[in-house]
């Protein structure tokens, strides 16, 4: 039935309709990439999955966003809990100005996931291992998170999300501030995480979408133009608009 489903999802900034009725299904434990030119609505769409748009004044949403069949916009939904289940990684690594350890421990502490310190240590280690960062930082867990490289910081942010035991990880251009090697490490990590998590990634880098994702959705002016298996979309797109975009004939 799909881990995440949207039905006729519309989003308004004031009077401006930015998403024009998107219906889409995100498969569980798969990587879904959203591509399209700047301003096409892909990030806005991504941010509907954990209601990050709520923080922008004047936004209004109609239609449904279902997580495991439950509408995330229902009035009784606990948004903090929603964002734990649907975690997010941003364009620029944004670790807190604290130690590496405290960054990862932050969520569990707030959520009360691991009260005993031994349990917390274990959760931090587990999360750092899952984010493929443990070996690099295990001897400096108490060092400031801002001292490690940008690629490591981004993996730290992923570890921080993982520590909240999420089901879905949203990634908004997670590699745009990273060099190619750090980018490939994140992509490898995504493939690892795919076994346990559902991942939705917004990327400007089409090769990245082609490399890493199972499904790709192409957005254009607030519409979902085409959504298909990545292999098909990049070799035999059904829509001329998609073809023009992925072959660089526009944008």
């Amino acid at each position: 039935m799909g881990k995440l489903v949207t039905r006729d999802l519309r989003l308004f900034y004031g009077d401006l309709e930015a998403l024009h009725g998107i219906s889409m299904r995100v498969e569980e434990r798969r990587i879904t990439a959203l591509i399209g030119p700047s301003g096409c609505g892909k990030s806005t769409f991504l941010r509907c999955f954990n209601r990050m748009n709520d923080t922008i004044p004047g936004t209004r949403v109609t239609g449904d966003v279902l997580l495991d069949g439950q509408n995330v916009y229902a009035p009784d939904v606990d948004v903090v809990e929603l964002r734990r289940r649907v975690g997010m990684v941003f364009q620029r690594p944004n670790p807190f100005p604290q130690s590496i350890y405290d960054n990862v421990a932050f969520g569990p502490r707030v959520l009360g996931l691991a009260r005993a310190s031994a349990l917390l240590d274990e959760l931090v280690e587990q999360s750092l291992r899952a984010a493929a960062l443990w070996d690099e930082v295990k001897d400096k867990l108490r060092s400031p998170a801002l001292d490690i490289s940008a690629g490591e910081q981004q993996r730290l942010c992923i570890a921080r999300v993982l520590a909240g035991k999420p089901e879905v990880i949203l990634m908004d251009e997670p590699c745009s501030a990273l060099d190619p090697v750090a980018t490939l490490r994140i992509e490898d990590l995504m493939r690892e995480l795919r076994q346990d998590y559902t991942i939705v990634i917004v990327t400007h880098n089409m090769q990245q979408a082609a490399r890493v994702s199972d499904y790709t959705g192409f957005f254009w002016l607030g519409e979902l133009v085409e959504y298909d298996q990545t292999g098909k979309l990049f070799t035999r797109p059904a829509q001329q608009l998609t073809e023009d975009y992925i072959t660089g004939r526009m944008g």
Binding site: M206, Q207, A210, F234, T235, R236, P237, T242, E243, I246, T247, G248, R249, M250, G251
Partner: protein
């Protein structure tokens, strides 16, 4: 907008031009090989054989061009299909060149002996082959799947002619066993001409895939 693709588009145009050049080299090779056979001219035959090296070299050149484009431009969708089609098409053209060269070798073997009969069907087959090569490349150039399909259908004419040649040569061999060697060589020529049409059919399949994204085997 088009600016972004200027370099890439120019390279694709280059690639198409190179394939068309290779195509006309191959057409010429077929024509000359048949002339060598018909006029029993070993000199012309040797030209065809020597020319085959240039065909091979050109084929590798195009292939390298394709690899470079894939490595540097990360082509997708229609561009990717066109480049993959180009790699297959030049491989087929190169093999057609080999058949022409093989016919030239048979022409050399036959050149010391009187012609078994005036050649009629073999030049006709060669003529159709040339037209097919030309039309398939036109279909490639203009992304025309209908033309590709029509072209591939002509393979049936070639098959029929080969059969006709076979039956005719058989009567010569049965009537006079001293003709067997010469008749066999001519049969081989007919077979090579038939294989050329099969290769063109493969080119047509690639053109259809390139233009429509659908891979289908053509069998006429």
């Amino acid at each position: 907008m088009a600016k972004a693709r200027e370099v890439f588009d120019r390279s694709l145009t280059d690639l198409r031009a190179n394939i068309m050049t290779l195509g006309s080299m191959v057409e010429d090779a077929i024509k000359l090989a048949l002339r060598a056979l018909k006029e029993q001219d070993p000199e012309v035959a040797r030209q065809v054989i020597a020319g085959d090296e240039q065909i091979n070299a050109r084929r590798y050149e195009v292939e390298e061009q394709c690899l470079r484009l894939i490595a540097t431009q990360q082509p997708a969708a229609g561009d990717l299909r066109a480049i993959i089609a180009a790699i297959h098409i030049v491989t087929e053209l190169e093999r057609i060149g080999d058949y022409a060269s093989g016919i030239a070798e048979l022409a050399i073997r036959l050149s010391g002996q009187p012609l078994l009969k005036p050649l009629i069907d073999l030049p006709r087959m060669a003529q159709i082959d040339e037209e097919m090569v030309c039309a398939s490349l036109e279909a490639y150039l203009s992304h025309d799947p209908d033309l590709a399909l029509e072209t591939a259908k002509r393979d049936a004419e070639i098959d029929q002619l080969e059969d006709q040649v076979y039956r005719e040569l058989l009567t010569y061999m049965m009537g006079d066993p001293t003709t067997i060697t010469r008749a066999t060589y001519l049969l081989w020529v007919a077979h090579k001409l038939e294989r050329i049409a099969d290769r063109v059919t493969n080119i047509c399949e690639r053109v259809i895939f390139m233009s429509t994204g659908v891979m289908r085997e053509l069998n006429f």
